[in-house]
């Protein structure tokens, strides 16, 4: 039998260093590379260039080493690399705390772990690190594509784990199939956990501050060009579901923030102490709707005029904006009711009116002169408003996304020289002119318009719908909305941005042509929206609703946990029962034999899974000569039951019992 020991051993990927750790094979190594690469890929765009270059170089070096069967770098070198990389991260992020440096450190660990990849245990560490990085990807992006990618990468990671557990080598697609079927079995658990795991308000963990710098959209200052920048973006600002028909376009003014302070260049939000909101009495039917707001890092929640309802944890500001308690940093949903027709309050707080009149001295002299003229010719503020509107129309101002640069005396330059501007120029000039004429005026920033997605019926407002307009205080009328842009370019309001600006200037999706592209975008939006509503927007409130609909009364976290435990237990039980049912017919016999094998194993007789009973008995008898007879008898009984002729059931039962008895009495 000596010749039989020539059994082939697979070529090893790495030199064997520590005999007690199983070394990795070449195939296992490639699986680990694939896993690490899949985890790194989506993060690369968020990493600094030096880091992604270093990580990829490290991996390439490692791949080359295993390709050439070279020696791994020594430990001291790896140690130096770790220290150097940590210093570089600390330098480039100014510290270790926060999302980005944390992920950078993980990426470095993963790349360096690959460089000391020797044993199966190292391989498992690599897979776990990769899984962690996949999770970290959700800190950047939680969209459908990201989730699908993470799922696919997870299939690769699990396949790598399976490949690490020895077993016969199989083809790549079969390994992936094994992995997918394992993950498929985890699916019911995932659903149960998703539905029942008690939710907390907001994200499960607080995101560090640096996660929000990239949020695009409105900001609480308005400098020339700030809105036209936003208008280049076709990202979604929020989605609305109206209960009933959408209001007409001239009522689709979504208020988000007010800008009252003007320094000649920039309009700023006035940091007022909160005053009591003015009492607006509804004077007509209400519009009811529900908004799903993308995070915009502002406190103001978009609402139509005039908001008559407060979402939880929010308040009215003095200018009737709806403010959330903190800037909105995760997608939120709130129900809202607005009254387009209302009775205005008789008077406004004097300090607010004073703030709405302040202008810096000596800027825009021509506009001031014009305003003084209106004041002289008019008997009331309402007349001045009318005069101003007429003046704006008479100036034949043009609406454009690419206005010329106007630095000094910007309002004069706009009104009297260039006569071309975007809505911020219109609003800024109009508010300035009114203030110069002694009419309290302020700028309202928000969105105007939006469009219905024909696929799912949601009303979608995009960043290019961002808009600013003016509110003026007229005694007896209250704050009146005036949109100078609409007065000069009515098409902007009735038809949206894309009709106001023809051809190549508008963002791609705002154009009239490319019907198929818009159709495709509608569908994509509908899918994304469904995902946002059903998966990402599954907050405690929604969870209570869904569970209530499923028949759980007053769900609280205790009840959910109990259900969670119960359902998971039931699932595991079902899986176990299924597995038991699939176990072979001669269960009792095999079970008894397993006990026998365990008893032998305790004596140091190692039964390989491929060994037949006869081979085993001979080995055992040779090693335990004093028990040879018992071993032979047990083996004979087992063989007769398992491999012998078919026995009548009664006889089989008796013989099985006898076998079990023999094995019980077998005490080596």
């Amino acid at each position: 039998m000596g010749k039989r020991d020539l059994s082939p051993t697979p070529r090893r990927l790495f030199r064997k260093k520590n005999a007690c750790l199983p070394p990795l094979t070449l195939v296992q190594g490639w699986w680990l590379f694939a896993t690490a690469l899949a985890a790194l890929l989506p993060l690369i765009q968020h990493l600094p260039l030096w880091l992604s270059t270093a990580a990829v170089t490290g991996m390439a070096w490692r791949a080359w080493l295993s390709w050439r069967n070279g020696r791994l770098p020594p430990r001291w070198l790896l140690f130096l690399l770790v220290v150097a990389a940590c210093v570089a991260v600390a330098y480039s992020y100014r510290g270790f705390f926060g999302r980005n440096p944390g992920i950078a450190l993980l990426v470095i660990f993963l790349a360096l772990k690959l460089l000391e990849l020797r044993s199966v245990r190292d391989g498992i560490t690599v897979v776990l690190l990769a899984c962690f990085l996949l999770m970290a990807g959700f800190l950047f992006n939680q969209g459908i594509a990201a989730a699908l990618y993470a799922l696919a990468a997870l299939v690769v990671a699990v396949a790598a784990l399976i490949a690490l557990q020895a077993g016969p080598p199989v083809r790549v697609h079969e390994r992936l199939g094994q992995s997918a079927s394992l993950l498929g079995q985890a699916l019911p658990f995932m659903l149960v956990l998703f539905l029942l795991f008690p939710r907390v308000q907001g994200p499960l963990w607080g995101l560090p501050q640096d996660a929000y710098t990239a949020a695009s959209g409105l900001s609480d200052t308005m400098a020339p060009g700030s809105i036209s920048q936003v208008a280049q973006s076709d990202a979604i600002a929020f989605r609305v579901q109206f209960k009933g028909a959408a209001p007409p376009p001239h009522q689709q003014y979504w208020r988000v923030l007010t800008l009252t302070d003007y320094d000649g260049q920039v309009w700023r939000h006035h940091p007022t102490r909160e005053h009591d909101a003015l009492p607006y009495a509804p004077a007509g039917p209400s519009v009811d709707y529900e908004i799903t707001l993308e995070p915009h890092n502002l406190r103001g929640l978009p609402v139509l005029e005039k908001a008559g309802l407060l979402p939880p944890e929010s308040s009215f500001s003095a200018d009737r904006l709806v403010l959330a308690a903190t800037p909105v940093r995760s997608r939120m949903r709130y129900a809202m009711r607005s009254y387009p027709d209302y009775t205005p309050p008789p008077e406004e707080n004097a300090r607010i009116l004073a703030a709405a009149l302040s202008i810096p001295p000596e800027v825009n002299p021509r506009t001031r002169a014009q305003a003084r003229q209106w004041r002289a010719q008019s008997s009331s503020d309402a007349d001045i408003l009318r005069a101003a509107a007429e003046f704006f129309q008479s100036q034949l101002l043009a609406y454009t996304l690419n206005p010329p640069l106007m630095e000094k005396d910007a309002v004069d330059a706009f009104l009297f020289e260039h006569k071309r501007g975007f809505c911020e120029h219109f609003a800024s000039a109009f508010a300035f002119a009114l203030r110069a004429a002694g009419v309290p005026a302020r700028i309202i920033g928000g969105y105007q318009g939006g469009e219905i997605n024909p696929v799912d019926g949601y009303f979608t407002v995009r960043q290019y719908d961002a808009h600013v307009w003016v509110e003026a205080w007229i005694d007896g009328w209250g704050w009146v909305r005036v949109d100078p842009t609409a007065d000069s370019t009515p098409r902007r309001i009735e038809g949206g941005l894309r009709t106001a600006i023809g051809g190549g200037e508008a963002p791609l999706l705002a154009r009239q042509d490319y019907a198929w592209l818009r159709e495709f975008r509608y569908r994509m939006d509908a899918v994304t929206n469904a995902w946002n509503q059903a998966v990402l927007g599954f907050n405690p409130q929604r969870q209570r609703e869904v569970l209530g609909r499923l028949g759980m009364s007053e769900p609280d976290w205790r009840k959910m946990s109990a259900w969670l435990a119960g359902l998971c237990g039931a699932l595991i039980l079902a899986l176990v029962l299924n597995a038991m049912r699939e176990r072979k017919k001669h269960d009792a016999t095999r079970h008894a034999w397993q006990i026998f094998l365990r008893k032998l194993a305790r004596q140091g007789i190692d039964a390989q899974p491929w060994m037949g009973p006869d081979t085993l008995a001979r080995r055992a008898a040779a090693q335990l000569p004093q028990h040879a007879a018992a071993i032979r008898a047990i083996t004979a009984a087992y063989v007769a039951l398992r491999y012998g002729d078919e026995l009548p059931p009664e006889l089989r039962r008796r013989q099985t019992a006898a076998l079990r008895d023999m094995i019980r009495r077998f005490r080596p």
């Binding site: 039989r4 082939p8 070529r11 080598p169 079969e174 899974p609 037949g612 006869d614 491999y643 012998g644």
Partner: protein, 322 residues
């Protein structure tokens, strides 16, 4: 079960045959046993080894001991199918064509150096092996019973050979290698009498229909569902899990089971154990499986270095008992 007593008498007979053969073929008990199992399973045997290690002697011994009619066909590159099957010759006396049967009409054929002949001649033999009948000039003639072919083949890398294609290798139930005798066996061989003389003195140990009985007994050995599962697991592994280009065919698994039954008979067992399957596995599968694929690149070199039994060995250790 009356077969138990039959079994022990059969077993005794077989032991005697093996013992007698072992007197002449020294130190090759395992190969002798495999060859006999192959014959009892009604399969054909391919012996692959270098010239001069005793392939021909093995065939001779088996023929003598089992009392079979023996014919030897030396394959050469200029051989024609008619040289194997026979020809029809016009007889002037009777005025008709008369069939002169070729050497294949015999119970045990030794097809020596089969890979020296052209594929055409090879296929004539191989067709006869599969069909157990010969068709010549439109007339089908059955071959004698039992019909057993031992083919020998030089390793393919020798000069002037036509390697047997895989489809034809599949017709052989087993392929074995003899290998050099070990030291002790060779000393006995060198010191002992001439093998030919010993061979001539060898008495047949079986009656004419006794071999047939043995074959029938072997075919009736009990195979439990658990064992069939094991054979299926092996086939499954070669088809999907293992480092092989193609898996085992159903013909191969049938052959494996038949060979395992014959082996159980040689061991005197009324049923087949996994050990019986494992004993015949290297011989039955080695010539049917080709290492390949991604995993095979890793294992292929190792198999090549470890010799013909390595594939069987790998299979045994890779497939756990169900």
């Amino acid at each position: 079960m009356s077969t138990i007593s039959d079994l022990s008498s059969h077993h005794a007979t077989i032991r005697a045959v093996l013992a007698a053969a072992g007197q002449i073929i020294l130190g090759k008990d395992a190969q002798l046993k495999l060859a006999l199992a192959c014959l009892l399973a009604r399969g054909h045997l391919l012996i692959e080894d270098l010239p001069g290690v005793g392939k021909t002697t093995l065939a001779h011994v088996l023929a003598r001991l089992l009392g079979l009619e023996f014919q030897r066909i030396q394959f050469t590159s200029d051989m024609l199918p008619a040289d194997i099957i026979g020809v029809s010759v016009f007889e002037r006396t009777s005025g008709s064509f008369q069939f002169h049967p070729g050497p294949i009409f015999s119970q045990l054929i030794l097809a020596d150096e089969i890979n020296r002949a052209t594929p055409k001649a090879q296929s004539a033999l191989l067709e006869a092996m599969e069909e157990r009948q010969v068709t010549s000039e439109g007339i089908t003639r059955p071959l004698p019973e039992p019909f057993f072919v031992i083919a020998t083949q030089n390793p393919a890398h020798q000069i002037g050979t036509f390697a047997l294609p895989e489809s034809q290798l599949d017709r052989f139930l087993m392929r074995i290698e003899l290998g050099y005798p070990d030291r002790e066996a060779e000393r006995a061989l060198l010191a002992g009498a001439d093998r030919r003389t010993l061979l001539a003195a060898l008495p047949p140990m079986l009656q004419a229909d006794e071999l047939k009985q043995l074959q029938e007994t072997a075919a009736a050995i009990h195979v439990s569902p658990a064992l069939i599962e094991y054979v299926q697991a092996i086939a499954e592994y070669t088809r999907h899990g293992g480092p092989f280009v193609n898996g085992l065919s159903p013909r191969a698994t049938l052959g494996l089971l038949a060979a395992a039954r014959a082996w159980a008979l040689l061991e005197g067992r009324p049923h087949v154990l996994p050990e019986d399957v494992q004993a015949v596995l290297p011989g039955v599968v080695a010539h049917r499986l080709q290492v390949g694929g991604a995993a095979g690149q890793v294992l292929g070199d190792a198999f090549a270095k470890a010799g013909g039994n390595a594939i069987g060995r790998h299979l045994i250790e890779a497939v756990p008992l169900p």
